[in-house]
Subunit: 233 residues, 2 copies
């Protein structure tokens, strides 16, 4: 772990559990991590703060925070348009209100720009097609299309390089992700996943994201260090 | 002209001659224009000011300026890494120092995000494969790959919509672009193309971009309103 001398890889780091685990897997595979956190208009600063804690814990080579105000476009509950519902049923197979238009395309294009400037060919993203079955930009077919675009649309690709888009979690359950993270010694107490945090940034325990996370920890037979104890809310 | 009631289209507007012409063609085709100008770390504010003049002249429905600091990644003379050479030979078929890593992928992903939020399916970009033969992200094959990605990676695409990426200038010579712009009554005095402007924002007349433009006007049998008179420099 804490490998800083391998091939460079740009990793999209959100401050959540998934991107932390994906980054740690890439690091265990020998990549030197360049972490990119995009402030795209998230309503809560807890995510950004969590990304800093995670980047420090991973001892990444460099952590860049980039502002891109997708909230200016509107169209998502996550950036201020409409409400994130509490207690809604997750995993319904439809696209949730928290979908941000073309978010992963924006995030991956920024990661690609940095990768090319760094002469890196590896990009790591913690997307997961099971938990986010309603998000079109979390599917393997989409990721394949982006990888093809990366080779066509860059100097590095035209000159014979070949970008590799790593999405190690894409087919894993949340419990499998958490189990792998435990094996890698990750501290999930550093992360933030809640869509509608309580004052002080504590997880609400009720939103889609909290429920998915709670079920994952339960199925992995573990306790989530950031979840409120039963009875509190 | 000045049609504001057609189908919405997001147009990437740089303040240069090409994007102005592409936008005007889309408008003549009946689209209501939503213009997006991205400040990605260009060294000169003249481009942004030109985009405002052009947006006003086109009477677009909305003009958004978005900051995305690609200069933080490094890797291009256009955003401050290295020098833009004067008097270099344009059209050499190699990738110039002014190439910005993955720029069009970033710009198109932002246009896609806005388009989806607007429920628009049309995106207009003024890329040209002849003048910028060295830029991988100006080729038709690249544009086709992006259009495919847009359908795969958005709610709108998954729900059966079909994005259309319009690049009306992609196979035109600069003279053909300028001739079409004249027919549409465009005022190219509003635009800015120079990579290394003189104090006050005047075109240098020598850089790649100025030379391409000068040849285009000459071949079209027209005078470029922004070019310095011969003898001055």
């Amino acid at each position: 772990m804490h490998e800083r001398s391998g091939s460079p890889a740009v990793v999209l780091l959100s401050g959540g559990l998934d991107s932390y685990t994906a980054a740690a897997i890439a690091q265990a595979d020998g990549f030197a991590l360049y972490a990119l956190t995009v402030r795209y208009g998230q309503l809560h600063s807890c995510e950004i703060e969590a990304s800093r804690r995670v980047a420090r814990a991973l001892r990444v080579v460099q952590h860049l925070e980039l502002n891109v105000d997708l909230a200016a476009f509107g169209g998502s509950a996550l950036t201020g348009d409409g409400l994130v519902e509490k207690n809604q049923q997750p995993d319904r197979g439809e696209i949730p209100a928290t979908y941000v238009p073309a978010r992963n395309t924006v995030l991956l294009s920024l990661a690609l720009s940095w990768a090319e400037a760094l002469a890196a060919y590896d990009i790591v993203i913690g997307v997961n097609a099971l938990d986010y079955s309603g998000y079109p930009d979390c599917r393997q077919e989409y990721l394949n299309a982006f990888q093809r675009l990366a080779d066509l649309g860059t100097r590095a690709g035209v000159e014979g390089g070949c970008f590799r888009l790593h999405a190690p979690l894409v087919r894993w359950t949340k419990a499998e992700i958490i189990t792998r993270g435990q094996e890698l010694g990750l501290d999930y107490g550093l992360t933030h996943s809640c869509y509608v945090p309580l004052p002080g940034g504590r997880a609400c325990g009720r939103c889609d994201s909290c429920q998915l996370r709670a079920r994952g920890f339960a199925q992995a037979g573990l306790v989530d260090p950031v979840m409120p104890s039963p009875g509190k809310s």
